[in-house]
Amino acid sequence: MDMSKFQKHHIAFAVACVIVLAITQHFAVLLGFIFLFGTPLFFMKELPPYATTVERIWQYLFLTICTFIFVFLITPIIIIIPLSFNAEPYFTFTDGMLSFESTAYSLRWYEDIFSNGMTNPDAVGSAWYSDMWNNAQWVRATRNSFFIAFFATIIATVLGTLAALGLSRPEMPYRGLITGLLISPMIVPLVITATGMFFFYSDIGLAKTFPGIILAHATLGIPFVIITVTATLSGFDRSLIRAAQSMGANGWTTFHKVIMPLIMPGMISGALFAFITSMDEVVAVIFLADVEQRTIPRQMFSGIREQISPTILAVATILVAISIALLTVLEMLRRRSERLRGLAPS
């Protein structure tokens, strides 16, 4: 494409910007317009010479649609971050926030995470810490969440990895049936699973206990472990096992020294999936848990239903930060796994 054409649609866009500003007379609207309709221009690539004008317009339209979809995907997650610093107990931007007054922003909802439920929030020193640690609702919920997720992840990862090793063997009998069973906790509606567990665990005395919830969460995390570990094993070169054996390694050494390091990235990402499933799970907790076992999502659920306050947004912001961290770890693991398996780096 020649340079003149490249400049043409930039000029057209500049004209459009001026028109928008003239009509609405708001700079904020202009910024939104530039972001939504200017980003596609940035991504437009050179089309082959035989491309028609309709195709060029279509490409711009297509990229604009995609921009809107990405905005749709990410906005809800981004928007809660500034809202959580609201000084007022509202779920929307106040006038002060929009004009960037420092008084309109505060950390009060983050403080509320620690003080909500404390018996004496004005205490100082170690008394404050022990009160916070034992009584603050959100702190308690966080402790419960991590406790449950930790053990559920261990159970799901160990059992899931073993099963994935079996499933990926070429000799595995009834593979389809068993895979179907092992993935089904992800497919069966959570209400049905939770109801079933509620009745069964009540009968055997596990309802309203930590072991009961841990078992439930391990069950729900298993499909994710199976899927990720089997995916890692699908590119696994089985002759490596035979090579190890031919050099005299026994079963355990082969697993420990050859298989394990290679499937480690898959195992860790499976474990991360199981962990996040447990951290995010609320239906089973609603049915199975008592106040004693409240988790973060359970606390958020009742928060949204009963006394909606920006504290939930503050918690949500922290959770978003955690998911960004986990996503980064996962991406690094994926790359490492591809490197280890000798696939092309991406």
Partner: protein, 441 residues
């Protein structure tokens, strides 16, 4: 599989083909003297059982923690022993009654005595209240008859029991009550499936449609199916262009944009639902923006949440990654050269797309559509939080019966129907796509 065939045969035969160990009949042997065929079967068997043993712990774990609980719940939908638990002797006696006129005097005596015992019983599942609740499902409004009568029954010490009972409350002088009691005295019933399908037994024991006021379940099933279909369709048309873009962009850019897809996927469901409440509510971000640019007046704020719209928007956002990921993984494998080839042979861009590209994406569409539909149909949390009354799905009704109304059998019957639908779709998914194709990121 390590089968060692000793090639330094001891009894070499004249044929050059047969160089292994052979016995008198000319059958190949392994180094330890077992026929090769037999050894092969043994080794294969061993390998198969080894593979199976690796999965065994998890299979057992899932059977105990998942399959048995669900099976037990499903059983509850046809099994409701309230009648026999509360009135054990009466339940046996009334089985012999033919349903014409009134039961015999002995049966009435057993009824009164069983009720007197039940009144003192505090054991869960064996109280008068349990029976009254169960009867109330059969005859709406009959609950108070049982509870009030049980309080007065201690006055009856001797026969005739039938007259004494009718004296306490004239409502007992009604064959319909006794016919229903006979039905309730059986442990197994399909009454709850009838209720789940908006039907019931009439006074003569025939299956008829329920009163229009009570016909809520079938319409809710259809509403769930309709909303799930809308959500799936919206997911598909939103996911398609994005997946296409991701599949054609250079890896570095597409990996970056993929984060925008994966971040919502990894963010807590509750966080995303909360975010949508903040955005969509009447005092929320979108309404504020619309008022700010002057598209709507301050009084004309749009109700976008706590109704079906809210459920649809939030669920589309939550389920979108489940559509994008399978579509993307299929589109990534379609070579760009196919489209160029079609163009070079004179196809217009649209024809090339319709005849060449689109058919190749069908496996991805099947995978994404089925997955999103399966997940949408059983969704609970988001409709419960942003659905208001109008946006509730069948899962919410099940939860209501399990947690609030405590009509567990009806909840279980609704659950069974939902489960059957989901399992059929799951089977279809496995047929069309294969569960082993499932992957994340």
């Amino acid at each position: 599989m390590r089968i060692l065939i000793d090639c330094r045969g001891k009894n070499m035969t004249s044929t050059t083909l047969d160089q292994g160990n052979t016995n008198a009949d000319g059958v190949l042997l392994t180094s330890d003297g077992i026929p090769l065929k037999q050894k092969l079967v043994q080794t294969t068997k061993k390998a198969r059982s080894r593979a199976f043993l690796l999965t065994l712990p998890l299979v057992l774990f899932l059977i105990i923690s998942f399959v048995v609980p669900i099976g037990q719940m499903l059983f509850r939908s046809v099994h409701n022993p309230a009648g026999t638990n509360v009135l054990p002797n009466f339940a046996v006696a009334i089985k012999n009654w033919d349903g014409i006129g009134f039961p015999s005097e002995e049966t009435f005596e057993l009824f009164v005595k069983d009720m007197q015992i039940a009144r003192k019983n505090r054991e869960i599942g064996k109280t008068v209240g349990n029976l009254a609740t169960r009867m109330n499902y059969a005859i709406p409004g009959s609950r108070s008859l049982f509870t009030s009568t049980s309080r007065k029954l201690s006055t009856i010490t001797e026969g005739p029991y039938k007259e004494a009972l009718f004296k306490i409350d004239k409502k007992w002088d009604n064959q319909i009550i006794w016919r229903n009691l006979k039905r309730v005295s059986s442990d197994y019933t399909i009454a709850f499936y009838l209720a789940a399908l908006d039907h019931k037994y009439d006074d003569n024991g025939n299956i008829v449609a329920a009163e229009e006021l009570y016909q809520i379940y079938v319409s809710n099933f259809f509403k769930t199916l309709r909303l799930s279909a809308i959500i799936t369709f919206l997911c598909l048309i939103i996911a398609f262009p994005v997946s296409y873009l991701l599949s054609v962009l250079p890896l570095r850019t597409s990996n970056l944009l993929m984060i925008l897809v994966l971040l919502p996927f990894w963010t807590s469901l509750l966080v995303r639902t909360t975010a949508w409440i903040a955005i969509l509510q009447t005092q929320g971000v979108i309404n504020d923006i619309l008022v700010f640019i002057g598209l709507i007046s301050d009084d004309g704020r749009i109700q976008m949440i706590y109704n079906q719209t809210g459920t649809i928007i939030a669920m589309v956002h939550i389920l979108l990654p489940f559509m994008i990921l399978p579509l993307f993984s299929v589109m990534k494998t379609i070579p760009v050269s196919y489209m160029r080839a079609a163009r070079s042979m004179g196809a217009t861009p649209f024809t090339a797309y319709r005849r060449v590209y689109f058919p190749l994406t069908l496996p991805g569409i099947a995978a994404g559509t089925l997955l999103v539909f399966i997940l949408a149909i059983g969704y609970y949390i988001t409709p419960a939080l942003v659905g208001g009354e109008d946006g509730l799905l069948i899962s919410n009704l099940i939860a209501y019966h399990i947690q609030k109304s405590l009509n567990w059998s009806l909840g279980a019957a609704l659950g069974t129907i939902l489960l059957v639908v989901v399992l059929v779709l799951y089977w279809l998914y496995n047929k069309l796509v294969g569960i082993d194709k499932l992957s994340f990121g």
